[in-house]
Amino acid sequence: MFEYVWLIPLFPAIGFVLNGFLGRRLGKGFVSWVGPSAIGLSFLTAIFIFFELIGRPPAERHFEKVIFDWVVSGNFRTVIGYQIDPLSILMALVVTGVSFFIHIYSVGYMHDDPGYPRYFTYLNLFVFMMLNLILANNFLLMFVGWEGVGLCSYLLIGFWFEKDSASNAGKKAFVVNRVGDFGFILGMFLLFTSLGKHGIWTLDFTEVFANANKLDPATVTTITILLFIGACGKSAQIPLYVWLPDAMEGPTPVSSLIHAATMVTAGVYMVARCNVLYSMAPVSMAIVAIVGVATAIYTASIGFCQTDIKKVLAYSTISQLGYMFLGVGVGAYSAGIFHLMTHAFFKGLLFLGAGSVMHALSGELDMRKMGALRKKIPITFWTFFIATLAIAGIPGLSGFFSKDEILWQAFSSSHGHFLLWLVAAVAAGMTAFYMFRALFMTFFGQSRVDPHVAHHIHESPKIMTVPLMILAFLSIVGGYVGVPHVLGGANHVHEFLAPVVGGGAELGKAHAGISLLSQAWASSGEAGGHSAALELLMMVISVVIALIGIGIAYLFYIKNPALPKLLAERWRGLYRLVYNKYYVDELYEILFINSLKSLGTGLWRGFDDFVIDGTVNGIAYLIGWLSGSIRRVQTGLVQNYAFAMILGGVIIAGYYLIRGIFY
């Protein structure tokens, strides 16, 4: 079955081509079948391969399939090739699985949209690209997927292109991603050239990681930081997170699939994939962790004041991605991936739920115009509720296990630190607060729904609710594959991923002694030891913090709905700062967009038109002027002409005379 790994990306590609070329001709029915079933087939293939994989001993769980040579130039050679290992197959399962459900959901959600075939075309293309990203066996092909998903994100955010905000958001997403890609591409170059210095010209993962120990630490640090810039762009971390909230302009299933469950996690995946390199570069890991945790708390704070339900979810997504980076940043790669997986379930679900709410409310997004929907759309409510619990880290649900793993690792890992844990824990509380705020504002309290809309609120059709339910189910049980040992679980995820991410960790330890910084980091972790009691204590603390967050949310939005307003007026400045997302967008606008625009205009008008063309036209003018002046010498009078002849003769004679003197 491994031989057929290429089928996984192929099915969506076929779906893309069929929908793209025939979708408009053959109509919705055709599209509705082709779109989801392409993904479904991929999903099935992935499952088969997965089972085959776990049938093998852990050491042999690696397989590469080269399809054909791609770019070959001198000693640079990359292939179109896919690899199967626990990490990639796990990701493939998550991606195809979640995608499959979201495709099905979309059939219902997008049913009345005129761009229906286009939508599925894009969506299939996205899955194709995402699978390339995940399954690639080399950096370059990964980069293809990397940029490819960016493209699909662009297309899908701008799906309703008639809306200026949508097309702006799409463009913003793409360009910001490109900034990240700039880093990624440079990282690749540096990797390639510095390995090349040792005679190894390759971008293949296997070879790169096998030879990574030949690189010196400074280079690895640079490479990993550059790659992380790429990850920042794709996974919306500080300072490149700005595109993700705007990306909510796209259709909600898109937000769910791309901007929550799959694409945005590519960065995390990439870091995990390159764990060998990161482990060699403690500084980079520290940066990853700090950026992750900072993003987590920073965007969580923005989530406090958002009124748009999708925006809340968007910031929450960024925040959760921060967690994941925290996880991989402290060396807990499997924890990061585990959270990635559970997050895909519950965040996907949350978005779909939000979509369902919108569906019920004819597209309303503002939570201030919702309320008391609990009864009217019960399935949506319950599934949403489950997901909220999961994300808030309530024990027993998937989010609890994965988040706790990260928190624990942040505290205890050799790369961890108490402060990291503290901040992350606070952010977890904040997450609980704003998620429940959203839940309460939407489903509880008084109905603030527009009366026009109110009377036809209805539950979504089966085709939408079934995926909700499946995802809700997964959100509940998804965590049990990674129950930590301390709770008596087997932590299957960790075990499963160990062949991929374990090596890096060991290598990291080998290098850890080198850097003073990493020693400093490591001290606290080692001081804490790995006592099970401590781990349990931490767990309890985080649950308590989460509960506090929920409690406050309850206080604010159920018990005393006037309180938030009071507080907002009390600290108006702060409120407005947070409400306006710290004015970062505006800052960027001034710093980058406007300055580049005026630079462009300046160069165009100032340099191009004035200096260069001015010079050229100036010369032309000069020649013209000379021409006009010299022709005046031609007076038409014979004697002037004769005079000129005499003058010429005298000059020549004078020349001979002078020459004769100096001869």
């Binding site: 020649i623 038409g636 004769a642 000129a644 002849m645 004769g660």
Partner: protein, 483 residues
Amino acid sequence: MKLPEIDLCLIAPEIIVAAFGFFVLLVDVFFSKRENKAYLGWISLVGIFFAGALAVTQAGSVKSGFEGMFISDGYALFFRITFLIIAFLTVLISMGYTQREGIAFGEYYALILFATLGMMLMAAGTHLVIIFLGLETMSISIYILAGMMREDKRSVEAALKYFLLGAFATGFLLYGIALIYGATGSLYLKDVASYIASKNLLRNPMLLMSLVFLTIGFGFKIASVPFHMWTPDVYEGAPTSITAFMATGVKAAGFSALVRVFFSALPGFRPDWTSIMWLIAVATMTVGNIVAISQSNIKRMLAYSSIAHAGYILVAFVAGNDLGVSGILFYLMAYAFMNIGAFTCVILLGKKGEENTLIRDYAGIGFKYPLLSAAMTIFLLSMAGIPPLGGFMAKFYVFSAAVKEKFYWLAILGVLNSAVSVYYYLRVTVLMYFREPEREITGLQFSPAAVAALVLAVIGTLYMGIFPSNVLSFAQKSIAGLM
């Protein structure tokens, strides 16, 4: 007393040309009532053709005659053929034109033939008397031809200016010859050279002064700065067919004599004249090209362009190697085709009472008279030095000669000049193709002869551009023994 040996075969082409000149005069007397004088043109053509044929039969042999005053060598042959081609084309374009402008006299063709005779003598003379007399024969014929349009004030003015300045320049030329004579005691070019070499007269002030005077005299004929100032006025005023004849024939003849005299008689003075000619070449190119830009009359513009071309040829003259001299020959021949071609277009675009010589008048004719415009474009581009046309190859040889002698700056200034020249040549094509006409030009009558000339000129220009080998090797063979 020994009677001189007379070898008529040697001057057979000249005799034919002269004889046909007289024949035309005679025939004109007998048929003076006939309004249409085109038949005289045909007679002239026959004469020119025969002369050419006879000249070609002399190819390959070098024979000197008439007490060594006259030589029929390759150099003479090349120029004879060039002049005959020029005359041939001129006669062709004249037939319709003279009729139209009312200057269809029998004398017109005769004078063209006599002028051609003069040119041929200039190229073939090895004695300064022959060169002088040839030059005068040519000049006097052209003074008259320039003033042929007696009713036209411009034509008369052109004749006056050309005449006065021509005579003035002749004075200088003569003084130069006198000084050479005084310093060397001989008028034979070879003897002059050998005497100078034997007596080491290279610093002789008399010879240096004569160099100045000769430069003025020949510089006038070839229209080099600062002896060029008559050119625009005369070219503009003279009948267009004669302008074409002047621009090509007189210039070629001037160069033929200049090269012959300087390289045969005064080769030792090359270091002296080189820098002067360098300066003159640059000034000539630059002034010609720059002033041409602001012209509004096409004849005048072509006049300035012809000044510029003299400058390019002088580049080769400065280089002075065999490459350069053969380049001069090639250039003159190519220039003959393209320049006469251009003037033919100018002629064809005019009609009775409406010369249409303003560049403005060319607006929009590109698609109205497509072939005429295409031909004009070819000539202009050729003059601008765009391959694969004759003008390019000519410039190529000229500049390669300069580069070979390491006159890099001269070559660079030359090519930059030719880049500038592109502007005003293009301006005409811009008008022809890109602009709408300001007024309609209709009722043009294309004289078949002129059209034939046009076709010949096009063929010549293309041939010399695409298959330059033959003409070039001819030119290279021609200069053997000159230096």
